[in-house]
Every structure is written in structure tokens, then in C-alpha cells.
Amino acid sequence: MSESTAELQSLLKRAEALYHDMHFGAVRAWKDAEPGRRAVGILPVWFPRELIHAAGMLPVSVMGGGDDVEIIKGDAYFQSYICHLPRSTMEMSLNGGLDMLDAMIFPSICDVIRNLSGMWQLLFPDRPAWYFDMPQSSDAIGRRFCGRELAELRDALGALAGSSIEDDVLRESVRLYNENRRLVEALYETRRERPWLCPTSELYVVLRAGNVLPVEEHNAMLRSYAELAGGAERHAIDNARVVVVGSFCEQPPLNLIRTIERAGCYIVDDDLLLGNRLVRGDVPDSDDPLDTIVGTFIDHAREASFLYRPADKGAELVQGLEACRAEGVLFCAPSFCDPALLDQPMLVEAVEEAGIPHTSFKYAENTGQFQVIREQAGTFADSIKLWGAA
């Protein structure tokens, strides 16, 4: 094994360990390193992490318990027809697994996460829990509203941190997150162009490390991964190029991603860990960084089922599919996920109109059986290759 291969393996090993660590050891270690450090949890999908960073605190993306958390108390609070993420989140929080988070932020993506914010308030009255209403009217009014909401949150975060968040510090944080977004985007581009160099099962854990690592450290990790993966001795195989749609909140287990790849698919785009990429491009430098963050969100957020998009449904998806030369779409949504599942028929229609093959299946974050999905994805990939050859 060459030195760089060993280095790549060790980087991936670390990332995967972080992925599996449902005790959030990295966050605890970061907090323990200096007295008075605080961490703030963010539920899917998006919150400007810059704000938390600028307060000197660690933003931590909480994306459920995956398939590693055994559910008892979580099921006690949720009926069988509610998705899995809130169960595992509740299980972890009631078992003390999230007690290192000094506050929680619940973005407005669906009724379940919304109500979870209130459950948190009832169960943990001493820990701040903020609901973040993303503007659904994408104009100046929405921008003003969101700006005022975020200004309140900025004060609250500052109060939690013990000092108010200054504009120049915030600008610096924005710069770091701009870099993070650029690095992530570059990896997506590598994967799009040469998917064999950058398999999704790797990319995923590397990106996921950003859920718990400080952005500086994550940027470094992204840089080394880009370098190591880009230079790796890996060869293209005859896989079908597919895009995964619907997995923006509750995440599929890593084994599901591997299953799709092993079934003969290159995932060339996806909405996994969408918070990293929801807002396209840089947040420009400005005199009023908070307003600029909001404005960038309003003007440059990607199409997503939790954002109001009454016209041209699926147009952006189809455009994206063409841009990454996708040969098929895997609609891959969590069971009982209202936004994804209600959106799906409309997206399917757009994709069909564009003549792009698609298939769909549902999962839960703790799905343990992949036989059916393996067969389905495999058949799909085979049929794409057959059509492609014809």
C-alpha cells in the first residue's frame, strides 16, 4: 500500500468512525478542550452555521441516530406513521446522548420537526430550543422577516455564548463557510466528472464529518480528501449514472448508499446532507453580513421540497440531471416523509417528460435489509445500460 493510499484509508476510517459515533465524542472533546465552550445542535436541513461559529460556538448537525441507536423511548413518543428521525433523536436526547448540546435549532422543514421543537421545550426546559422559520415568500418581504428573525437569533446566540456577535467576526465565519461550500462543491464536481475517484459512500462520510467537526478542521479534511482521492489509482467501470432525490432530511444508512453503488450505479448527484449545499455559491462580503446571508438564501437556495416552489416544479431537477449527464433518477425518500413524498409525483412527471428513466423506493434510517433495494437498483442500472447501448 502506498503512502497516499494509507493516508486516504486512515482519513476515511476517521470519517466513518465519526459517522458511527452516536455519542458525539468529537463534539464532547472539542468542548472539553477549553472551559466555557458551547455547542449548538441543528436539525435538518439548513441554518446559517456562520452565526453559531461567529459566536465562538460549535454548530452540530443532528441527523438522527442512523441504524446504530436502539429505539425504546423514541417509540414511546411517536406513532407508527411518523418517520424515524425524530424517534432516534428523542431516544438519544432522553438517554443523555445529546446533553453536550447547549441549545437546539429546529428549521421549518415539516410539521414533525416543527413539533419536535415544542417537545424539546417541554422535555428540556433549561436548554434553549429555537424554531427557525425559513421564509417561504421569496421576495423583499420574506427577506425582511427572515432578517429580523435571524437578528433575534443572533442576539440569543450571543447571549448563550456570553458576548454579542460582531459583524467583522461574522464576516470571517462567512469566509470560512464559503470555503467549506466551495470545497464541497468541488468534490461534487469531481464525482460528477470522475465518479470512480470519489465514490459516494466515501464522499458521504467525509461530508458528514462536517456535522460534528469545527469548520476549520473540516475544511482541512475536505482538502486532503480531494487531493488523496483525486490522485488515487482507481479505474472507471461501466456503471449507470444516477441521481438520488428525496434524502435531504432523514439519512439513508451508509449501507444503503453502498448497496446502490454495488448494484452498478454511480451516484453523480444527490440531496444527501443538503444543508451543506442548499445555498449555491458564496455569500458575498458585505457591510451587513446577516442581511447578505438571508439574501443569498432567498436568491440562491436550490429547489427542495420543503421550500415553496409552485411553478416549474422539477425544472431545476431536470436541468441538474442534464448538467451531470445523469442516466436515471432514484427517488429515494424516507417512509412517512411528507415533503419528499408529496413532491415526488410532481418531480416524477417532470423527469418523465424529459424522458429520463427513474425508479423509487423508501427507506428508514435504520433499514437493515437491502436485498430488495439491491435487486431494484441493479435491475434499474442494467436496464439503463441496455437502453444506453441500444
Partner: protein, 431 residues
Amino acid sequence: MSTASGNTVGMDSSMALQKQMLARHYDRLSRAEEEGRACAYTFVPGNLTELLLSFDILPVLPEINALQNAMRKKSRDYIATAEKLGHSEDVCTYVKCDLGMAKSGNVGPTGERLPDPSVLLLSYTGCFTFMKWFEILKQEYDCPIAMLHVPYQGAGAATRNMRDYVVEQLKENVIPQLEAVTGKRYDEDRLSEHLAASARAEDDFVAVLESAKHKPSPIDAYFGGVYYISPIFTAFRGTPEAESYYETLREEVQERIGGGLGPITPEGTLPEERYRLVVEGPPCWTNFRDLWKMFYDEGAVVVASTYTKVGGIYDNGFRHDPSRPLESLAEYCLGCYTNLNLPSRTDMIVKYVEDYDADGFLVNSVKSCNSFSAGQLLILRQVEERTGRPGGFFESDLVDPRYFSGANVKNRLESYFQMVEQKRSAVRSLS
């Protein structure tokens, strides 16, 4: 939200009045297209009825159509139609029932064809699915869509910022769109007149709801309640018809109190009030009568319910205010029940259990509605702890008959009533 036209439930004059109103409304809708009247599809929570009326726009309420279809046993086929089109089994059945109806010729529950919308007025209040619902309808109709984003009371209060946001959207988005659709100018005086009428009806409506504090309660505030909320939650708020309906209803309720009468049920006046209960959650429309019977057969009366607050909370003192028309519409939207956070909802139920001296409270956990259901089990636990009175839990769905298991629900309710009785007699024998 309901009305049960077509069913006769203890025909008082208020009931007759309501039936007429509803029949007239559907009739008006069926003629709207030929008469060239504008129609807005819109939702019950956070509805802007007075504003629409001030533009002479007729409201069409897809939720009401869905539940009316369920009561008339039509929802199963409509849901199947939507699922065949690729809609998931997992999602809201109101949406699927409505879409199924639209795809089957858009014939409304009364058998008359519904007009296509001139505008989709998306009052996005207290329910995320509303947004998806109208995105889906937008694919069906070539009409403008006006969105009113009503922020959620995440921290337990409607803030100034939220109110301003709603008012700004009304002024800058919604009203201009309604003007464009109708070709009419926004007339604030007219709006205020409607709001004044609303406020008068709201006074009577609250008196009716609060009559349940009497023992025995003259009304059932859930099964009966869905009839009582119907005009004020739908197309009639702010109309003289609604005013006279609530006046009549209030008088009837007063008479029942005077006569020491219990609530009306489909089988006549309830002879004996054995259990006083608070209920959280929407009704199950496909089996509305079955469920009601399981209650009144046991002498169980619902004295307060949260469902009768989805189209607005008035028993906390809120009234539409003609002197601040848009601000008060904004406050109304922000204050609807499903726009409250869980701590507020819990407080409200606790208060109901205490104020209405209930023996306990029940949760009807509805599969379709995550806005209601997610977190209900915690509410249940909290209310139990805070009131010391027993909570019960059963499951059903809004309009999907596949999800109702009569034997299962009956078993739970019976067990629950017997538990309440057993606890009460234990307390009696101690005192």
C-alpha cells in the same frame, strides 16, 4: 371542520339554518362559472374569508370537500385514484381525496360540479402540507397562486415581527393578486364591515362553546362541535347569515341549559352525562357516526375540544377587529390552534380539563395529520401529570376508511371509560 348536511342530527332551527346555508353555498359554487364569479380555493386554518367576501370572491375549501366526501363514503375511491397516480400511501389523505376528486371531474360532495379556482389562496397556516397541497393543485389549474406565509409560534407567542410579516404579505402580495383576479379595488371599509359582523358572531360562538361548563353540558363540543364551528370556520364568517345562525344557536343552547338538558345526539337528547371529557385531535370523518356512538352510548360528553379551534381560537378573547382590519386578520391567522407550539397546546388542554371540570381527556391520533399528531403522546403524558386526570389514546384517520378499526377503537374507549369510572368510585369510597 364540518357540517353534516344530508344527515339529520337533532333538527333544531339552528341546524336547519345551517343546512340551508351550506346547500346555498354549494349551489352558488355550481353556478359560479356561468355567472362569472371568482372563486378562491383556500384552507380553513388562517382563512381570509372576510377579505375574499370584500372582493366578492367565493371560497372553496378543499378540506371541507374532502371530509364531506368521507362522510358520504366517497373518499376511498378518490384516495385510490390519487395513489394510482403515484401518491404515497404514507401521506395526508385529505390531499389525496381532494386530488382524486379533481381528477374525477371535480364533482363536489353534494353532486354538483365545483368551479375551477380563479386563484389558489394558500394560507400556509399551521400545516406544512398545505403548501405541498396547493403546489399539487397548481399543476392542475392554470390560475395564479397567492401565498400567505404565516409564521409558526415556535416560542409560544405571536411576535410583532410575525404580525408585520403577515400584514406586509397581505398588502403587497395577497391583496394585489386578488385585485388582479377580480379587477376590483381593495375596499377596506367593506372589509371592516365584514370583520365587525365576524366579531359579533364570535361572541355568540364563544358563549356556545363555554356553555359546556354547565352540568350537564348542553352541547357536545367535539361531535356536536364540528357542526357548530362550520359556518364560522368556512365561507360564512363575516356574513349576516352566520350572525343569525350563532344568535339562534346561542338561544337554543340557553334553552337547553334552562331545561337541564344534555347534548343532542343522533339518537336524541343524551339522557345521562356520565363522563365529561376533553378531546384533542380532528375527528375521523369516515366513521364519524360510529365514533360518536361509542361515546354517547357510554354517556360520554366532550365538553371541550382543540379541534374546534383549528379555524381560530376565540375563547381566549381574540376577536376580529374592524378598526385594525389587516392586523387583526394577521393575528387571527397566527393564533389558529395548529399554529401553536406544543407547550401552548398542552397549556390549553390543561386549562380545558380544569375549567370544564373534565373527568379526563382523550387523544384521537390521526394518521394523516402530523401537524396535530407528532408529539401528541408527550402532550398526553404532560396533561396527565399536570391535571392528575386520566388520559386515553386511540388512532384513526381523517378520510381514509382503511385506517379505522372499529373493534380496536371501541375496545380502547370502553377500557378508558371503565378506568375513569373505577378511579372515580375509588375516590368516592375514600371520601
